[in-house]
């Protein structure tokens, strides 16, 4: 099997913030309904739609929705390098950053290291309402309290695709045979998935698009999620400066709205104190 490099291209201009990806992701990956004691910081959302705006007032105000998930960093993968347990690895065959909850000891160092807030801690044991257990996805093992989890590009679907290929007598998966749940659910086709090593794939082409950008590219983590927008202000919002070092896009630019989640998420201040960064309220993340 030739080595793959699975990645995504997300067209921010097409995302209308409906949240279907978040729902599809939770259902696919056996994320339990929110526990009674849950708050914004303790909930689990492997993919999360943030609302950002250009900081101006009416009539100049523009806003956009940005789905943020694990960026599957290819270089210096921050979570993998800090994990004291080797519970995180980068699969050289697929480029997928995997998390092994059974191996995780719950120190949450990876959550502090992740520049994208893409990792979540299980504060509670999963509980499903009576009868709902029957609807769980058998291809994904539920996690227990005290471990970290995150997006793995719906790895259960990769297993299923491999089995279908094996039934046809091959190890090679056809493009389109393996697609994560969020991609499948997106009604506007804003999220596309494919092999970045395959120059003919839509994702590889989108990654080379002039309007394409990645979140915090400056950190040099080589994320495999490529975003795309025709709007300058959207593209800029993703490029925070290196800590203590002004970046040409950011000179003289203070976060325009302290309530602006992506600004809060990506502002350099949070790299020193991730847990104190103001997290968006649910209202703001989705329907704000």
């Amino acid at each position: 099997m030739s080595a793959k490099k699975y990645g995504m291209s997300i067209d921010v201009d097409r995302c209308n913030g409906c949240g279907a990806c978040m729902v599809a992701c939770a259902v696919e990956n056996n994320i339990p309904p929110a526990h009674a004691g849950i708050n914004e910081r303790k909930g689990i959302t492997w993919i999360r739609v943030y609302k950002v705006d250009n900081g101006e007032d009416y009539p100049g105000k523009r806003s956009a929705f940005v789905p943020v998930l694990c960026q599957h960093c290819g270089e210096h993968t921050p979570c993998a390098s800090v994990c004291p347990q080797q519970a995180v690895d980068v699969d050289p065959q697929t480029g997928i950053v995997g998390q092994m909850p059974e191996r995780c000891l719950g120190c949450r160092y990876c959550m502090a290291a992740c520049p994208y807030h893409a990792r979540y801690f299980n504060w509670f044991d999963p509980v499903w309402p009576a009868g709902m257990e029957k609807t769980l996805n058998p291809d994904v093992a539920p996690r227990m309290r005290g471990v970290v989890e995150k997006c793995n590009f719906c790895h259960g679907r990769l297993h299923a695709a491999k089995q279908r290929a094996a039934a046809a007598g091959t190890e090679e998966i056809q493009p389109g045979d393996y697609v994560p749940a969020c991609v499948e659910a997106c009604p506007t086709g804003a999220i596309r998935f494919g092999d970045l090593n395959d120059a003919a794939s839509e994702t590889a082409k989108a990654a080379k698009d002039a309007n394409s950008f990645r979140l915090l590219e400056k950190l040099g983590t080589d994320p495999k999620i490529y975003y795309r927008s025709k709007k300058d202000w959207v593209r800029q919002i993703a490029s925070a400066p290196k800590v203590g070092q002004p970046h040409e896009n950011n000179v003289g630019r203070t976060p325009r709205s302290a309530r602006d989640p992506l600004v809060a998420l990506l502002a350099p201040a949070r790299s020193s104190a991730p847990s104190s960064a103001p997290l968006p309220t649910r209202k703001e993340t989705l329907h704000g």
């Binding site: 699969d91 909850p101 093992a141 793995n152 094996a166 039934a167």
Partner: protein, 187 residues
């Protein structure tokens, strides 16, 4: 000196009691619902493995057959054995699925693909399951009281174990550069 003999004897009794009793303390066991015999089916019915243990079209393994695979032959008793009569009275006539316990059942977080091994890898059933496909009697199913895992994944009665070490051992022996990531075998 007189103190040592009772001490050694006591230690020996305690040790052997522990040795013998521990498996009962740690494992609970139960019989399988039906006295199924692989040998009878191979010899008297000439059934092949894939008649009962088939792959679905999407490559998943159907595992232990459901009742509808049996009813075709067992609508009425073919022999005179008590085992068959019990099976028909308790399961076939009331259309009730036997609650089989799978000896090889892995922990919930393990992904295992039969088709990759049997079809792509050409590995024989016996290599992993030993003689389970040709026995006359089903052993009691034993499960760990704490974890709920089947005892058989550690290997019993001359059958190979199927622990993480065993999986990796075979992959390495076959020079399969398989363990690229933990999620290869976990889910």
């Amino acid at each position: 000196m007189r103190g040592i003999i009772p001490f050694v004897a006591g230690a020996a009794i305690a040790l052997s009691a522990g040795w013998a009793g521990f498996p009962y303390a740690i494992y609970k066991s139960r019989p399988q619902p039906v006295d199924f015999s692989h040998r009878v089916h191979a010899e008297k019915a000439g059934a092949k493995c894939e008649d009962c243990h088939a792959f679905r079209n999407d490559g998943t393994f159907a595992g232990i057959p459901s009742l509808d695979k049996c009813t075709g032959c067992h609508a009425a008793a073919m022999g005179t054995t008590a085992a068959e009569k019990n099976f028909i009275d308790q399961y076939v006539t009331p259309q009730r699925e036997p609650q089989w316990a799978a000896y090889a059942r892995q922990p919930e977080n393990v992904f295992f693909s039969h088709i990759a091994h049997v079809k792509l890898g050409q590995v024989k059933c016996e290599t992993c399951h030993g003689d389970q496909g040709s026995t006359d009697k089903l052993p009691r199913y034993q499960e760990d009281r704490i974890s709920g895992y089947s005892r058989d994944i550690w290997g019993t009665a001359g059958r190979p174990g199927m622990t993480m070490d065993n999986c990796v051992d075979c992959h390495r022996k076959q020079k399969l550069e398989r363990e690229h990531s933990c999620l290869e075998c976990h889910k």
